[in-house]
């Protein structure tokens, strides 16, 4: 829909997209081959161009301002949540938001209404602020709690150890005596060096780093450290372990702070995966039901054959390429995986295209595909195994890693969202705007994703918020039991399990437990308030 009016819009947004994607690809992703970077940039530019096609603003003059606003929001969003990869997703989200049409019929917008209702609930508003606080804590955790100083000057050399790589080694020449000294960041004890000027992090300890003079010390006990001369002195209040330490002497406070990162990451990524699968499947199941998906027999069979071939080439034949990619580094693995998904789509598409040629009468009869039944059976099967059991079983057979846990929690949790989406679509299906878009000749997919889905997302949002709470709960349960997450990763659950072994360390039980409790309550409050705001009929 390119016309004279928005040609300049498209040019501006494409240029923006190109610039950022170039910066992103070449400066930020390091260990990806150049071809991949080029492909990334091209995909992003195409995507941005497609979205920008629809950007329409009431006032031409403030388009650029709006664009910059959305773009920076997108960048910030992506950078806060997921440095590196987020820079790819963030601007896309920003552009998507920019492309949303403003409702100009009346000044009423459901979103604004729901937001006002939400804000009226005092507890929910507080929860939202607390959530923002948690996100900031998580994002800046390495700066808040780090055993390395943020800024240090040693023998004239200015260093930022907290921000540099773990394995950095610096050679320093003493300006007075002229002798050389090698500083290895990962083994030196900063507090014993004669630093001219130093700024430590607010909590000068890293999670999981043992402190042999302060094992299992409670918040009120005496704490010691060894100074340069080797004597044991009592620690000043700047360097106290304010919340105590665990069995090996690792500081609890920094463990809590870095654990926030993991908790939020787990919540968002697992629910992201779950909502992606759930929304798409639920939308198709609800919209088409059992009777509305009609296609020629030939196309139906060709779709199945195309899917079969697609899976064969994507995951059968490429099995080794994908696993090699993951072994190399996770970005490469994700890229190979996405290529596989692309292959599935391409193959299905090609086979469906081929079906247009066939002219046999029997093959050309219209059949109904009962897609609702298929998807509902799938939901039932997945629901029939308790979630914790299936997660534990699958964790037992794969390697221990946090990413795997997140994916598994996501893949086992999409059924609730699918059910809600399906129910909403069953309701929306009979509304007039859906029929209008059908009669205008829009394809079903466009009707689903552009017109119906934004209206169906209300209960899904509530479900997602509850889902994040339960994902965090499951992950902390797993790390409490000690399965699934590798031993060196510090999460709230693992801190709690340390407290269980030695029942005298009450601080190891209370503080991580309260952290989990508060986070879950925050999400539950937000979910409840959203439910009340979005659908007053459900107010309990």
């Amino acid at each position: 829909m390119i016309n004279k009016e928005n040609k300049s819009d498209i040019i501006i947004s494409s240029v923006f997209g190109l610039i950022y994607s170039l910066i992103f690809s070449f400066l930020i992703i390091e260990d990806v081959s150049n071809i991949m970077k080029l492909i990334y940039s091209v995909i992003t530019v195409v995507f941005v161009g497609l979205i920008a096609k629809d950007i329409k603003s009431k006032d031409e003059n403030d388009f650029t301002f709006k664009l910059i606003k959305k773009l920076s929001f997108g960048f910030l969003f992506g950078w806060i949540l997921w440095p590196n990869f987020g820079l790819l997703i963030g601007p896309i989200i920003g552009f998507y938001l920019a492309s949303m049409r403003k409702v100009d019929a009346t000044n009423f917008s459901f979103q604004k209404y729901a937001w006002n209702q939400f804000k009226k609930n005092k507890i929910a508003a507080i929860s939202l602020y607390l959530l923002v606080l948690l996100v900031l804590i998580a994002r800046f955790a390495p700066i808040i709690a780090n055993h390395q100083p943020l800024y240090a000057v040693y023998k004239g050399e200015v260093m930022y150890p907290a921000f540099s790589d773990e394995k950095t080694t610096i050679k320093i020449t003493d300006p007075v005596t002229g002798e050389e000294e090698k500083l290895q960041f990962d083994i030196i004890n900063w507090r014993q060096l004669n630093l001219e000027s130093v700024i430590y992090a607010p909590i000068p300890y890293s999670p999981g780093k043992s402190d042999k003079y302060n094992r299992s010390s409670s918040p009120n006990s005496k704490q010691f450290f060894q100074n340069k001369k080797g004597e044991l002195l009592e620690v000043s209040s700047r360097f106290r372990h304010h919340l105590g330490t665990d069995l090996i002497g690792a500081d609890l406070f920094s463990g809590l702070i870095h654990g926030t990162r993991i908790a939020l990451k787990v919540g968002l990524i697992s629910m992201g995966i779950a909502s992606f699968i759930g929304i798409i499947l639920g939308a198709f199941a609800g919209f088409f039901g059992d009777r509305d998906l009609k296609m020629r027999r030939v196309k139906y069979y060709m779709t199945i054959i195309g899917l079969f071939f697609g899976f064969f080439y994507a995951f059968g034949q490429r099995k080794y390429i994908i696993s090699d990619g993951f072994m190399q580094n996770s970005t490469e693995g994700v890229i190979q995986f996405s290529i596989s998904i692309l292959i599935i789509f391409t193959s299905t598409f090609l086979f469906r295209l081929f079906s247009r040629i066939i002219s046999n009468n029997w093959l050309n009869t219209e059949v109904t595909v009962p897609i609702d039944s298929f998807i509902s059976r799938g939901i039932e099967i997945l629901n029939s195994i308790p979630r914790l059991i299936s997660i534990i079983t699958i964790t037992a057979i794969v390697d221990r890693s946090l990413t795997v846990i997140m994916i598994i929690i996501g893949v086992t949790g999409w059924t609730g969202i699918a059910r809600f989406t399906r129910a909403e679509f069953l309701r929306i299906k009979s509304l007039e705007f859906v029929q209008a878009s059908k009669s205008l000749g829009f394809s079903s997919i466009r009707t689903i994703f552009k017109h119906a889905l934004p209206n169906a997302l209300a209960p899904v949002f509530v479900s997602i918020a509850f889902g994040i709470a339960s994902a965090i709960l499951i992950e902390s349960g797993l790390s409490f039991l000690g399965i699934g997450v590798p031993d060196d990763v510090v999460t709230w659950g693992s801190l709690l399990s340390g407290g269980r072994q030695d029942s005298a360390s009450w601080w190891l039980i209370i503080f991580p437990g309260m952290a989990i409790f508060i986070t879950i309550t925050i999400y539950n409050m937000i979910a409840e308030a959203s439910r009340d705001a979005l659908d007053p009929r459900l107010k309990s």
């Binding site: 099967i381 195994i385 534990i392």
Partner: protein, 506 residues
């Protein structure tokens, strides 16, 4: 009604098959070799003579006994380059390597030749005895030759499991160097040359295009899945395996005992615990729900809602550990004992108390065991208070605003009778059906509680299975719980139709 039950049952069976397929897929992908695990469990470690002829024959026999020398499923989908006899290869690492090699070169015959050449080289390496050679020619340095021999053995073992071209080439170069520079290995240099020739042939006769063409290979009824699920129902092989259908879950890796016996002992304990917890949850939640509905929006109602909401958000492991900290702590309050479900010294003084849970009518035994169960039961149930009482409350509110309640009140019935006799029966509907749904979940959900309070039930068994990487056990739990949950949902659906006469399924 009957038609509905029949229809539900008909759908039930494919779902069971689907769950069994899922469990089977997970069990196949479990890492490690079952034969190795079981021989280790039985206490016969291979040791130095692992590669010797007799040990290998034993392993093959054991493999056959377990039914692992069969193809995995009734059919397999692959490309035309891969072989259909790959399942016969004994060693799992070798098997996986051969798959990768076939995928790399696309020519199964050449890969098979390569594999056999490597195996025969390994065999002849076994036959070399340094001592005998030393007896014949004493100028040879015994120690150095031993080292070289071990080096060769390592290299060939590595070659059997490697596929990356650079690594393979470096190993071949190592072997080449050792053989060429030492005369003692002249006898086997012919075989090594064969290896090099075969490898070259493999590289020359690459047919990678073959990996792009799919093909389906049929294996018939003789497959691992068939034996795993159905066992020896036609008495074909006359083995002991009864299959999952008849409850034979296989043999545990931890101590080579049949899993069925191990599970059966522990089920009773977890079962009783979950049953009691559900009963208590209902007993407490229903009155709370009724009261909240009755005094809607009062201070009591809102206060209760708040407390229940907080309880709902507290993680179970947190509450359990805190309870232990407070009430079973030698430093603080010792109202309840710390772990387990019985005191071994007192228990042994009463030989008439049996371990079995079915014998609960012994008052003494109950008195002894009750304190142990208080904390676990509370931890189990508190979460459901919020859930159940809320369902109850919502149901009651809806019903109390109905017309027939107004009629009952207008008739002059006492308030108590109105609520307990008329409203309650109708609002019990969702509660009753929730029971059948909660029940199977309770078997699985108790892992955390049994871990915290060290209760020797099914949850602890599963946890130990996970720690020991005891895959048959884990899969057995998975399948069992899956089946039970499906049965639970079926019962819930049927109960729903039975309890509410308005619902009729056509």
């Amino acid at each position: 009604m009957l038609k509905y039950t029949l229809r539900r049952l008909l759908i039930f069976i494919p779902m069971l098959i689907a769950i069994s397929l899922l469990a089977f897929i997970i069990s196949i992908n479990a890492p490690g070799d079952p034969v190795d695990r079981l021989t280790k469990a039985a206490g016969n470690e291979g040791g130095a003579d692992q590669q010797s002829g007799t040990a290998k024959k034993d392993k093959e026999a054991k493999r056959k006994q377990l039914g692992l020398d069969l193809p995995i499923f009734y059919f397999s989908i692959g490309d035309i380059a891969s072989s259909d006899t790959l399942y016969k290869v004994q060693d799992r690492d070798h098997r996986e390597n051969l798959e990768v090699l076939t995928h790399q070169f696309g020519n199964w015959i050449a890969v098979s030749n390569y594999y056999h050449a490597l195996l025969s080289f390994q065999k002849s390496l076994q036959k070399i005895n340094i001592d005998i050679i030393h007896q014949q020619d004493s100028s040879i340095d015994k120690v150095k030759s031993h080292d070289l021999l071990i080096n060769l053995k390592n290299n060939i073992a590595g070659l059997l499991t490697l596929s990356k071209v650079s690594l393979v080439n470096s190993r071949i170069e190592n072997i080449d160097e050792i053989i060429n520079n030492n005369n003692i290995f002249n006898a086997i240099s012919q075989e090594f040359k064969l290896i090099k020739e075969v490898r070259k042939e493999m590289e020359l006769k690459q047919t990678r295009w073959k990996t792009y063409i799919p093909s389906v290979k049929w294996y018939g009824m003789n497959s691992q899945y068939h034996w795993w699920l159905l066992g020896d129902i036609f008495h074909l092989k006359k083995t002991e395996r009864k299959g999952i259908i008849r409850g034979d879950f296989g043999i545990s890796y931890a101590d080579s005992q049949p899993i069925k016996d191990k599970i059966w002992e522990k089920v009773g304990i977890s079962f009783t615990l979950s049953l009691f917890s559900i009963l208590i949850a209902y007993l407490i939640s229903i009155p709370i729900g009724i009261y909240s509905a009755y005094k809607k929006d009062s201070l009591a109602d809102r206060g209760l809602s708040l407390i229940l909401f907080i309880l709902y958000s507290l993680p179970t492991f947190f509450v359990g550990t805190v309870l232990l900290l407070l009430f079973a702590n030698p430093d603080f309050l010792v109202w309840f004992p710390e772990s387990g479900i019985k005191d071994p010294t007192i228990w042994s003084n009463h030989p008439e108390w049996s371990d079995s849970v079915w014998d609960i009518f012994n008052w003494e035994k109950i008195k002894h065991q009750a304190p142990y169960l208080v904390l676990p039961l509370f931890t189990y149930t508190y979460g459901s208070f919020a859930f159940l009482s809320r369902i109850m409350r919502v149901g009651m509110i809806e019903i109390v605003s109905q017309d027939y309640i107004r009629t009952a009140r207008a008739k002059g019935l006492s308030e108590k009778k109105v609520i307990l006799k008329h409203a309650l029966r109708n609002s019990l509907l969702p509660i009753v059906t929730v029971f059948a749904a909660i029940f199977p979940m309770s078997i699985g959900g108790s892992i955390i509680i049994e871990y915290i309070f060290t209760i020797p039930g099914m949850g602890t068994e599963m946890f130990n299975a996970i720690l020991n990487y005891d895959y048959p056990m884990i899969i057995a739990f998975f399948t069992l719980i899956g089946f039970l949950t499906m049965v639970g949902y079926l019962v819930a659906d049927l109960l729903y139709a039975v309890v509410d006469p308005r619902i009729s399924y056509k």
